[in-house]
Symmetry: C2
Subunit: 478 residues, 2 copies
């Protein structure tokens, strides 16, 4: 059967990657634009994807003892100002509420860009004793940042995320928490989203406003640019001191607790699109796909076809597969294209000939490969195929990361390699912010992180030529 | 063992019900007050309760084909003004954003008080054909209404809810949806929250701004006041016309769709508190309780006690009970009071004597009754007890509703009964808003609804004496 395309084609990803991305988010019915710049509507298919992400992550958080809470939407200006680095980082990009009903407010309130100060205010109220620690909190919400240029998923004035906030009796415990949560993000990205990560620490220039240290998982997109996919921050007792949060320790001494925060947002959906998508649309990792398999009856007017298609759907549902049947009055070709656009991992075709042979045909979204499946083996083979697709998507993405990460010893080498290939470049770094800024000027890249997985790619910093023991990975970031 | 109270007692509910309520929300660690009036922090225990509510309701919505979406937080002033009744109802109580970063906005944006206009704007973009209908959407979010007087759960400037919004090809389909969703709320309140409802239609005076008809489930609290617990609105094609939303029907004619919306909020947690709570604290229906049973080791320093307590906890967890063990260094008496305050349905005590007798002791939160349970029957008896408690809470609440609902034929009778007993009063009503307002002036009550379950309690309207066929239930509402 000839494959019909959706009436409107999407832009070729190798011709205009940005336009290809924008085409997908609308054609796959993920996003609609609202009347306010930078505020995007998450349509059912995008929200179902987000719900699957939430469900897995929330389970991982709770497994580690975290509890969900809900903090207010609004922050008084005076509260935002309590921690100096933090307010410097966020105040320029917040939205301000000045009127409630018909009255002007005595103090402006900003819509939360992140909730550190709200958690601190709460902790000051409720923390008394070492018995109250640790406090391991998380919330799922939206935050606002008044960005100048905006793109669906990647940069919104409003976006959805989770923000974890924890309070600990000691610095050591808080540091362990920071690392544990980074590991959660790394595991989640690799095992569920099939997105390999580079784990590392941000340079001081790139860290979160108010943090002592920020850790990150960085992923490489199809166009070889970097997406910061999840971050975990260690605050020490800086906020605790600014907010006067103290508790009685076991020796009855008043001491300051230590704090972390960590977040992952709907920007990760942009990452899924840009890691796995192709010129036919989305390509969703089975473990996170809202629909893992779609059953499409062929020649559905012929006797027995719809019944058989229903039967397969029921069987797969019972076997735990997220399956849908498409009985609409559109042509099979239209349905093929529609489900490819939506990135459904497996398409199952069942027609009169298949029924005669007691089989169906399964088409993989990732490779396009079609295979007959005996109906006696339906559940087993579909579940195996889903795992194969998950593994294949991860393997491909890992190859993309590996093949597009290169080492450079000198600035000239760095520029030459980056101009030819783009991607990630490892170099040594002396640790000065001056050299970091110079690298941006000279090569057009920013430091993505100081990878945990270090190697010695040279002896000196490519900028200042000073002896250098630290390797940084550089790239262009979304 | 003598029962120790928490250091601070709560106010007696029969002395000062409002203060009793406020005491519970803080002492049971449900709520903390933020720095902004009317913005309450949902602490882990309250949020866990809300998550259980979400989980059940979300499942019921999806079972009926609804999908979750996320609409923007902000609404341009011009968009809010498109439907006249709607803006008249909400504009006086919204919060206005006037600045983004350091710039003044060209148009003020309000923080959503509800999202009808956002859904309409979206539907205008994406609705084309009869094939796109119905659109059965829901979202879980928070909304803001700039109320003058505020109370935790019952009236917040910010509150959490779900708002369902649906679009249908015909008026009939939309009307059926409105009723179906009211039924979902009624089933949920009665079967999960053990809160019996009066189902009915709101009078025009009490209906939602912009709706043709509003349906409600009203519950009676311990103090005999009414809590509007869930509402379902039928809009006809009024919004569709105001927003110019049209679709091609099967005859290729452009026609207007018909619309509904329905919501239930965290105010229902206030309802759970005020329906089942007592002078020892919360009293949670087992089906919705974050912790259904708490295991408390007695004389836990004695050999074998902690091990046995752990074993019971593990067994109950495996049997699907939401169970916790309290191994903290507090006294058993302190723990008893703490878990009563939190309304944990069953407390399980296990000490050396119990271990000798191969039993534990289960104390019911609802009746205070204690009983020995043979350890061989642990899972079976605990699950039975949970069901018994659920049923008992519902039966009690139903008796409260029945015993405090009375009929009145005349205004004098109505005033006499209400002054003596409070509660709900049924009278006939002629249907005029004048008489409805007069009833408020004269008797201090508002119409709660026109119950579906009608009876003829008199022949005439108690105010104007005109012949009347409609029965209204009156009361004082939260």
């Amino acid at each position: 059967m000839a494959k019909e395309k959706n009436v409107e084609q999407i832009t070729d990803m190798d011709v205009d990657f940005a336009q290809w991305f924008t085409d997908i988010v609308t054609k796959a019915k993920l996003i609609d634009y609202s009347g306010v710049k930078g505020f995007f509507i998450l349509r059912p298919y995008a929200y179902a994807l987000w719900e699957n992400i939430q469900s897995v992550l929330d389970g991982m958080f709770k497994e580690l003892g975290h509890e969900n809470v809900a903090m207010p939407l609004l922050i008084p200006e005076s509260l935002l100002q309590k921690e100096k680095d933090h307010v410097d980082g966020f105040a320029p990009e917040v939205a301000w509420v000045t009127h409630g009903g018909s009255e002007e407010l005595a103090e402006r309130l900003c819509i939360r860009p992140t909730s550190e100060v709200l958690f601190c205010e709460h902790w000051k109220n409720v923390l008394h004793s070492w018995r109250d620690l640790p406090m391991l909190y998380n919330q799922w919400n939206s935050v606002l940042r008044w960005e100048k240029s905006t793109r669906p998923f990647l940069r919104g004035r409003e976006f959805y995320w989770q923000e974890g906030h924890t309070l600990h009796a000691t610095a050591e415990e808080a540091e362990i928490e920071t690392q544990n949560m980074l590991d959660v993000y790394a595991t989640f990205c690799e095992e569920y989203l099939a997105m390999p990560v580079v784990k590392g620490k941000k340079t001081d220039k790139e860290k979160f406003a108010g943090a002592l240290a920020t850790y990150t998982v960085e992923c490489m997109m199809h166009d070889k640019k970097a997406l910061q996919s999840g971050t975990s921050h260690y605050f020490g007792d800086g906020f605790a001191k600014a907010f006067e949060i103290q508790f009685s320790d076991k020796n009855n001494q008043l001491v300051y607790p230590h704090q972390t925060s960590w977040g992952l947002s709907t920007r990760i959906i942009g990452g899924i699109i840009m890691t796995h998508g192709d010129n036919n649309g989305l390509n969703l990792p089975p473990r996170i796909a809202p629909v893992q398999a779609v059953v499409i009856p062929i020649a559905s007017h012929k006797p027995g076809v719809l019944e058989k298609a229903d039967e397969l759907t029921t069987r797969l549902k019972a076997a735990g597969v997220r399956v849908k049947i498409d009985k609409s009055d559109q042509s099979p070709g239209w349905k093929f294209a529609e489900n490819e656009m939506k990135g459904v991992p497996i398409r199952i075709e069942i027609g009169p000939k298949d029924i005669e042979n007691d089989q169906c045909v399964a088409a993989r979204r990732d490779t396009g490969e079609k295979q007959a499946i005996s109906l006696t083996e339906l559940e087993k083979r579909v579940n195996e195929l889903l795992e194969e697709i998950q593994t294949n998507l991860f393997t491909r993405a890992k190859e993309n990361l590996k093949n597009n990460t290169r080492d450079a010893a000198t600035l000239d080498e760095m520029k030459a390699i980056f101009n030819e290939h783009g991607g990630f470049i490892n170099t040594m770094w002396c640790g000065s912010q001056e050299c970091e800024l110079k690298m941006r000027e000279e090569a057009g890249v920013t430091s993505r992180c100081i990878p945990f997985d270090q190697k010695k790619v040279a002896d000196t910093c490519p900028i200042c030529k000073a002896k250098a023991d630290t390797m940084v990975v550089w790239g262009i970031a979304y």
